[in-house]
Symmetry: C2
Subunit: 217 residues, 2 copies
DNA sequence: ACTTGGTTTTGAACACGTTCAGAAAAGGAC
DNA sequence: GTCCTTTTCTGAACGTGTTCAAAACCAAGT
């Protein structure tokens, strides 16, 4: 058993390192096999697809995100601030892989792909990712309508997916534009959130939530 | 020249028909070449990439969208209704290619691809697509704050891109869920739009528009 | 008719992700 | 130690998108 785990680990480490250094396209299975001193077929014994190696990287990034967030939240209780921390921490965790991101994106975007964030193959990773935003909401002291509060973590995660999409296309130095967008959107969210409690906002808000609920079915 | 155009047309027609019948993955260049009675290399003389054949399909869908919208608008003056027409017409135009959509999507999504809808290489197609929503806005009689009105067509186009993304993943019969989402979102937009003129909404609205403008730079 | 220069077409070749039949290694059971 | 089963590993092979040197074709110009 130990030998098997060792081989598996050797493959993931080599693959992730190569993704980081060379990007997605230039990281070939043959290259990974060479660097890990195994055969091509052996890599496929452990990982049915190249995309499954990307999944491994994705899990690592997510773990990193969780660690950064746990540290970053500190004693902050304001939801907008916590959201900003969650978003910026996510971008921090992603940063080393910006060059490889386009390749990852087109690998992940196909619904048939193992790495599709919406697909059935990545339920666990997705729930782990949503947990970050669950923490952001739970640790806040803001007064939030309960129907909204229930759906908020998943909605914020989807917003984060949108931000990540923007980030892939963002070629500004250090992806500064993505960071600025994250901050500004968080601030805007903070100013708009109290309005959700105004009486005439309830109608549209409930319709919005119902629409999303139906779309998610 | 005539011969050349003929070959080119033969390739595009064969390719689009095959995308439609067999989907993206199962449409191979060798297959297209066979059906079009040419050699593999000759296809590459006209189209540098398989994705460029997808681009050809994309243009066709867009043309179809424009035709359907021009017919569909009729005498409707309400912006929400016009938006709904624009969105549903878009889904109608896309419908025949739902099976091929995942491949279509991953071909288009990569920023490095010449076919990316956000990239510099497809400015013209993008502007043609936005024009549909420009028409939707221009033909309406709703009172809209001018700062918003200026940005609205592009914003609606982005919303349409989001809808299209949802549609790719939508496996309900006839993609009914996507259609329902389009209708419901249009209706919600119609009820929220008047609120944009209320005094205390101006602040957040302007911040939102400024944020988007900065993000688009 | 013959050359010339450009356009169009061909098919073999390359590297890639992936598959697969079978070899090698690793444990037990006796 | 010897046999048997299961796990782990190998490398050749397949079909893919793409490239490229060379062939074939074509339209003038002389």
């Amino acid at each position: 058993m130990a030998k098997s785990d060792e081989t598996r680990a050797k493959i993931t480490e080599t693959a992730i390192a190569s993704f980081r250094e060379r990007g997605y396209d230039q990281t070939t299975i043959r290259l990974i096999a060479n660097e890990a001193n195994i055969s091509v077929g052996n890599a496929y014994y452990y990982f049915p697809t190249k995309n499954h190696l990307v999944q491994e990287l994705y899990l690592r990034v997510q773990d990193d995100h969780r660690l950064r967030v746990a540290e970053g939240f500190g004693t902050t209780k304001d939801l907008a601030k916590r959201l900003e921390i969650a978003l910026l921490s996510g971008l921090d965790a992603l940063a080393p892989y910006h060059d490889a991101a386009p390749g990852f994106l087109s690998a992940a975007i196909s619904p048939t792909s193992a790495v599709s964030p919406f697909g059935p193959d990545s339920v666990a990773p997705r729930e782990m990712a949503i947990e970050v935003f669950q923490m952001a909401v739970d640790g806040s002291t803001n007064a939030i309508p309960s129907e909204l509060k229930a759906q908020l973590p998943e909605l914020l995660w989807m917003a984060y997916m949108g931000l990540a999409l923007y980030w892939v296309y963002d070629n500004s130095a250090g992806q500064a534009k993505s960071r600025r967008l994250a901050s500004r959107a968080s601030g805007l969210f903070g100013t708009v959130l109290p309005l959700a409690r105004l009486p005439f906002a309830r109608g549209p808000l409930n319709e919005l939530l119902a629409m999303i609920a139906e779309a998610r079915s």
